[in-house]
Amino acid sequence: MPFTTLPHTADVRIRVTAFGLPSLFAEAARAMAAIMAPGCVPAHVVTREVTVEAEDLEGLLHDFLSELLYLFDAEELLLCDCRVVLEGTRSLSATCRGEMFSREKHRGGNEIKGVSYSGLRIYKEGEDDVLEIIFDV
């Protein structure tokens, strides 16, 4: 299980675990795609380069996921397989692969309205990197 759902009555709150921050960010992107549109196969059908800059690590994660959300809404790009490169804590670039969203193929998901800063945490747990985040649905 790449991510687990944590209790939150109104929205979707998840916990993601990975080894290393770049994979943690990539797993967060995969989780977001699975919530919005289950069944994404990263068939390399579409590829996008994404770059974001922010004040800190939490800001980078927030802006990275918000950018993927924008691409889903505006261009119907479902990007679930990202290779993330972090330069310090203020700059991120990623190569993201996925496929075009299809209402027939990817049904049963929740429309995510936004990525919330409330409850957004990135921390170490032993060797692992962990994040918790709330999506407004």
């Binding site: 109104a10 918000s66 209402r103 049963g108 998901g109 929740n110 936004g114 800063y117």
Partner: protein, 478 residues
């Protein structure tokens, strides 16, 4: 020792100002004993967080549907002085002007033939669910006008009648919209989504008027008589509003630091109401609110056309009862210590409930108060209420907005199968149509607090008074 939750009255509770360091005012909320069982600690924390924001007037408030959200609690209301106070997207949410409207029909529930076909035709007519695209896609120029003129644009383009505008909060278009503060990204998200319902808790519902509690108010508002059929529409500003929130959070975060405001939660990023950043957010938020009013107006048009075709009634025989916003910040004057003061009132999952004689309510309702629409769930009733003078004194003219969830979406899907929920509701006479079974399970009636209890509390407290009860007959879910 830190202050504790204190009971002020039968339904009124207080978090004293020493409940948490940094609170500038106490918090007040309204709950019955029954509803208090479900009060989450996260919601109380968020209520206390709001009390720390600069320029907050009187109290950080929450309505009886208070629950844990992000930024403000859902059901949260707070007013900030225009002079010295702040504006925050955390007090509005991603879905700017998510709201609800109620349409009357001349039809009787008992005579409504072909109900299954009606539900199916409405489902086909109104794009719903994740990734739904509009067949009434806006041009760039149209979008520019929609952001300024809201529902009025839609009416002029054939999606309604002029009287509809008299029955919308703000006449269906908030003043102060500034499209130049809406990013190209927000526009890109908004263009293909005009006239779409969305997903989650958004819905279009066919309802029967089951009981009229206040015949005078019901007549003034234009509610059909008992046994009559109504249609309720719940949706918001779609991706345009969501992106505006995301974009302005970023600029306001920088502003928060610049103005030296310390925050307990980053989602509460804010700036002084009259700062350039605060004004830009207000302008973009108002533009999004106007998009939402146009969106509900376009869905209204699709709905009316289905009814006209199926039942041979006139398009103008489905008048709008009212349309209210649930997520918005507005410039309003309220009495503070006996004097009118310009305020920026944030309602996050709360409804404006202006009392009799207030400015900005339909002339037919001037004597009874503003219509307030409180949706239930797929299996529980919705309610029509009226605003009160008491709400003007107590909550800056605000009341609750819905029932509020008690079970998470994940838990709901574990507990129930969508097919079973659909079949059970069908046996109770409620036909449900949705893009997936998952969305039916997630929105099953038992995942919400009982709407009747929430409404009973606002009625007992006097924040709004019951006018009519509406029960679901058919539901289109997003």
């Amino acid at each position: 020792m830190a202050g504790e939750v204190t009971r002020i009255g039968e339904y009124e509770w207080e978090l004293p100002v020493d409940y948490r360091p940094g609170m500038r005012v106490p918090a007040r909320f309204f709950l019955s004993e029954f509803l208090r069982k479900d009060l989450e600690s996260g919601a109380l924390e968020q209520l206390a967080n709001v009390a720390t924001l600069p320029g907050i007037v009187r109290y950080s408030l929450a309505m009886p549907d208070i629950h844990w959200g992000y930024g403000f609690p859902i059901g949260g209301v707070a007013a900030f002085a225009v002079d010295g106070g702040i504006i925050s997207p955390g007090g509005v949410g991603f879905d700017i002007n998510c709201g609800v409207r109620l349409l009357a029909t001349p039809l009787r529930a008992a005579d409504l033939s072909g109900r299954r076909e009606l539900v199916e035709r409405l489902f086909q007519a109104v794009p719903t669910g994740v990734g739904a695209r509009s067949d009434r896609r806006l041009s760039g120029k149209d979008l520019e006008e929609v952001m300024v003129r809201g529902a009025a644009w839609a009416v002029e383009h054939g999606y309604g009648v002029p009287r509809d505008l008299e029955r919308c909060e703000e006449g269906g278009a908030m003043a102060g919209a500034d499209p130049s503060a809406v990013s190209p990204k927000a526009r890109q998200r908004g263009l293909p989504q005009s006239g779409t319902l969305g997903s989650g808790n958004h819905f279009l519902e066919i309802q029967e008027v089951k009981e009229i509690y206040d015949p005078v108010a019901a007549a003034a508002m234009g509610v059909p008589p008992q046994g009559g059929v109504c249609v309720m529409i719940h949706c918001g500003s779609r991706g345009l509003g969501h992106q505006v929130c995301t974009d302005h959070l970023k600029t306001l975060e920088a502003a928060t630091r610049r103005y030296g405001i310390s925050l307990p939660d980053r989602q509460l990023a804010c700036a002084p109401v009259n700062s350039p950043e605060g004004k830009a957010y207000y302008g973009a938020m108002a533009a999004s609110a106007n998009y939402a009013w146009a969106n509900r107006q376009m869905i209204t048009d699709m709905t009316r056309k289905v009814f006209v075709k199926m039942y041979g009634i006139g398009y103008d025989e489905m008048p709008l009862v009212y349309d209210v916003a649930h997520n918005v910040a507005k410039r309003e004057d309220h009495l503070v210590n006996g004097k009118p003061v310009p305020l920026c009132v944030h309602r996050k999952g709360a409804t404006r409930a202006f009392g009799p004689g207030s400015p900005g309510i339909p002339k037919e309702c001037a004597a009874v108060g503003q219509p307030v629409i409180i949706p239930g769930s797929m299996g529980t009733p919705s309610f029509l209420l009226r605003g009160t003078a008491f709400a003007m004194e107590k909550t800056f003219g605000s009341t609750c907005h819905g029932a509020g969830r008690v079970t998470s979406r994940t838990q709901a899907k574990k507990n129930m199968r969508g097919q079973d929920v659909r079949d059970r509701l069908a046996k109770a006479g409620i036909l449900v149509r949705a893009p997936s079974y998952e969305s039916i399970a997630e929105e099953a009636p038992e995942v919400y607090k009982p709407s009747l209890e929430v409404v009973r509390v606002v009625d007992a407290v006097g924040l709004s008074k019951l006018v009519a009860r509406l029960e679901p007959m058919g539901v289109i879910k997003g």
